[in-house]
Amino acid sequence: MYETNYHKAGSTAEAGDLISKSDDAKILGGGQTLLPTMKQRLAAPSDLVDVTGIPELQGISESGGGVSIGAATTHSEVASSDLVKQKLPGLAALASGIGDPAVRHMGTIGGSVANNDPAADYPAALVALGASVVTNKRELGAEDFFTGLFETALDEDEIVVSVNFPGAAASAYSKYPNPASRYAMAGVFVAKSSDGSVKVAVTGAGQDGVFRMGEMETALGGNWSPDAVAGIAPAADGLLSDLHGSAAYRSNLVTVMAKRAVAAAS
C-alpha cells in the first residue's frame, strides 16, 4: 500500500470539504474493494475520507411501504434486519450471500452501489426493485444511477446517503458464484410489485454492468413461474467472457438463475 491520509468525516459537508481540499481523495465506505486494491498497489489515493460515521448514513427504516437503508449500513445488518426480511425477503437473502462473513460485516450498501462492480449483487436488487439512490445532492432512480462498468452518475464529491426501496409483492435473488472470487458470474433478481408488474435485473454477466431482461419480464407478467423464463436467454454478444465462463455459458446461467429466483420467490 502507498502512503495515504485517513480522515473520518462527521457530516456530508465535512466530507465534501475534505474531498475538495485533497489532491486525489477517495470516499471510504466499508473498504472491501478499495482497501484490497490499495494493498495491491493498484490504487493510490492521497486521502481517504471515511463516511461510515456520518449520522444521516445510518440505519434502516420503513418508508412509504418499502424500506430506506442508510448508505453506511453493512450487508450483515441488511441481511439480519427483521424489517428487510419482512418487506423484501429477496433483498435480505441477497445481502446474506455477499462475499464472506468478514466482507458482510465491513462492506456497506453505499460503498457497493457507488463502486458498481459489474459482478456485485446489489445493483441487480436496486434495478429490479425500482430503488432510488439518495445522495447529498439529489435522488436518482437506480437505472439512471448505474451508468456502466464501475461507472455511476455520482460526481467526484457526491456521497450516497441512503437507498430507498419500494415494497414488492414478491422478490428473490439467485446467483451463480465465480468459484474463486465468489462474485456473481450471473445473478438474477426478480421482483413483482403489488400492481403485478415484474422486473428482472441481471448482474455479473453484462459487459456494461447490470441490465434488465425485458423478455423475461413480459413472460413473467403473464405467467409467474420458472417455466415462463426457461426458454429465454440474453444474447451472448453483450455478455462478459473470461477465464471462468464464456458469454454463451453466462447466457445459460442467466436463464437458470432466473428460473431459480422465480421458484424461490413463488
Binding site: 500500500m1 502507498y2 502512503e3 495491491q40 498497489r41 451463480y176 468459484p179 474463486a180 472470487s181 477465464l243 471462468h244 465462463g245 464464456s246 455459458y249 445459460n252 446461467l253 437458470v256
Partner: protein, 786 residues
Amino acid sequence: MAVEGIGARALRKEDKRFITGKGQYTDDMVMPGMGFAAFVRSPHAHAKVTSIDSTAALTMPGVDAVLTGDQLVGDGIGNLICGWMIHSKDGSPMNMGGWRALEPEIVRHVGQAVAVVIADTQAQARDAADAVEVEYEELPAVVDSVAALQPGAPQLHPEAAGNLIFDWEIGDEAAVNDAFEKAAHVTRMEISNNRLVPNPMEPRAALASYNDAEEHHTLYTTSQNPHVARLVLSAFYAVAPEHKLRVIAPDVGGGFGSKIYIYPEEMVCLWASKRVGRPVKWVSDRTEAFLTDAHGRDHKSEAELALDADNKIIGFRVKTVANIGAYMSLFSSAVPTYLYATLLSGQYDIPAIHANVKTVYTNTTPVDAYRGAGRPEATYLVERMMETTAREIGLSPAEFRRKNFVRSFPHQTPVIMCYDAGDYDATLDAAMKAADYDGIAARKAEAASRGKLRGIGMSCYIEACGIAPSAAVGSLGAGVGLWESAEVRVNPVGTVEVLTGSHSHGQGHETTFAQLICERFGLDSDSVAIVHGDTDKVQFGMGTYGSRSGAVGMSAIVKALDKVEAKAKKIAAHLMEASEGDIQIEGGELKVAGTDKKLNFSEVALAAYTAHNLPEGMEPGLKEGAFYDPTNFTFPSGTYICEVEVDPETGTTEIVSFVAADDFGKVINPMIVEGQVHGGLVQGIGQALLENAAYDENGQLLTASYMDYTMPRADDVPSFNLSTHETLCPGNPLGMKGCGEAGAIGSPPAVINAITDAIGNNALTMPAAAEKVWSLYQSGSKEAAE
C-alpha cells in the same frame, strides 16, 4: 500423564503455540538495524534487459542500496543449480541453461527479479523498487510445452536447442511394440495434468545477517530442508562457506514441496546483508508467491494400453511432454522422470512398459516437486486409463483392476521399482464396502428423479515414498544421498531431546517423533523435546519431502534409540549387579527381570552423567547418533472412491461421498495420519475440480491471485470416510510407508472418473470447471438426440 506411544491419538504438542499465535515464523524474527528487501521484477515473460537506472530510487527516503545482477555476478555468486542429472536416451546430458538470482541480460518469465532495493522499511523498499527504471526489449514468448517444441518457437536458452532439455526414456520399447502387435484390445487417450500453484499459508521469507568480525552468516528462512539449503548456498552459490553459515528454518507454515528449493530471493538476502552491512529481511507477498514459488505438474501425455483376449494388460506405452518453466529448479529434472515414469505400473502386473518424456523450457514460472511430485501425474494417467479401458471392454472397473493386480511380493516392475509388500484387494474391498459401490444404480436413479446426474469413480493408487536409498538414487543422477540422521540426547535428569534432520512444517513431528521415545522408555511426552530446523543444533539432515520423515527420519531415530537403550541397560545392569540381558524397560523404569530390583530411567541417566560408577571402560554420558539409509522405497497404496452429483443445468459438480482406504504400513498417530489424508484429499480435489494456473499467450499469469485461482474451501469438499489397513513395510524397523502425499496422489482420477461416469462423456480435462462439464454434457446430450 499416560504414556502416549505408537498408535496413540496424541494431541499435537505444537498446536498450543500455533493456536495461541505464539509460533515463531521467519517474519517474526527481528534483528537490530535490519533493512528490508524489495525486488524489481520483470513485467514481461521474455525480454532483453537493456538498462537499469537506479538513480531516482537511490535518492528516495530510507534507501540503502539498489543491487543488480551485474554486481551479483561480479561478486562471484554462482548460478542456481538443478540437483539431479538426467541423460537423454541418446546418452547426452540434459541441456541446462543458466539461472542467475538477479538477471542482468534476458528475463524469461513474468516476475523474474532483475534488481533488489534495500531500505529502512518495507514500504520504503517497495516504493523505491517502483522507482527503479528498467528498460526492456520484448522478445516473443511461448508458454505451452508442446508449442515450445515446434520449429520456429521462441528460444529460451542457447544451451537447449528447440527448448528441449532432455528426451528421456524408460522401459523396453521393443517388448512394448511386440505387446501391441499381439493385443486383442487397445485403449488410447490424450491426458493432460494441469499446472498448480502450491499456495502454502505462510509465504516464503528470509532474514539474513552477517557478522564481519566473525565472517559468519545467519539465514532464517522458510525451508523444508535447512541443511540442504546451507550445502547448496555454500558449495554451489559460494555465498558463504559451510562452517560460516548457519541456516535456521523456524516454524514454517506449510511447504508442499515449494519450500524445498533454494530460490533467488533467499540467496540475494544472504549476499546483500554482507554487501550493505546490515541484516536484510524479505517477505514474499501473495502475488510474488504466485509468480515465483515453483509450480507443480503441467504434463501433456498420450497413453496406450494393450490387453490380451483375457483382458490382462500386456503392454503400456506413454509419451509425455513436461513443462519445466523458464529455469530448472532444484529437483525439476527428477519429477517428470524417476518420480513419475517409475510409477506407471500402478498396482498392476504389467509385463512391458515404455515411457518417453520430453522436458521443455517455456516462458513460465519454474515447475518442480509439489505434493506428490510425479506420482500424481502417473496415478492420474494410469487410473484414468484403467477406468476408461474397463468401460470400453464392458468389465466393471473393479473387476478389471482385480484381474490385473499384483498379488505376489516382492514384485519387480519393468520400470525400476520393486514393490516390497501390499494387499491391493484388501483396500479395494474396504473402499467398495464403505462406498456401497454395488448400490450405485439405485442412487443414480434417485438422483435422476431430482434432475441430477450421479456418477461414481475409483482410483487404485500406488506411490513411492521414503526417498530414498542413496546409492540407488545416486546411480540415477541424484546429486545427494537421501538418508536421514538423528541424535538422541538423554539429559542428566532423564528428559530426552531428539535432534532430527527432518523438518516439520505442518506434519506434527514434535508429536509423532516423541511418541517413539515415549513408547521405548515409558516416558510421558512432556519429558521429550524434538529439535529440528537449525544447522547449528542438528549436525546434518536431508529434510522433509516425499513422505520421508516417518519411513526415513523416524528410522534414524529408532537406530539411535537402540544405541541409547543398549547403553542404559549396561549401566542399569552394572548398578543393580545384574546381567545386561535381564534388564527390561517398562513404564519409565529399568527392571531386573524376575526380581523387584529397579531403577528409574532418570536415575540411570544421572548415573551416566555423574560417572561415579560406570562399567569398566564405558564413556560417560547418554547420547547417541545414527544415520539411516533406506534399503528401498516404500510403497503406500490404497483405493479411493468418489461419488458425485452433477447439475446438468450449470455443470456444477458436488462431491456427495468420498471414501479413502489407505495402506500406510504402521501408523504412529492415527489422528495425524487422518489430518494428512484430509489435507491431501482436499489438494487433490482442488486439482481435479478447481485449481489451474492459466497463462495467456504472452506469458502473463491470468490466475495470479485468489480472485481467479480457485483454492478449495471447506464447502467444496465433503466429510471424508477414511480407513487404514496395515501391511507392514519390510524395509524399515517400524514398518512405515508414509502418508503425506497419498491423498493428493490418489484422488484426482477418482473425481474425474466419477464425473465422466455421471455425464457420459470421457473427454473431460482437469480442472472439471462447471462450464467444461456443462458443455461436454450438452454436446453428449445433443449427440444422443441425433
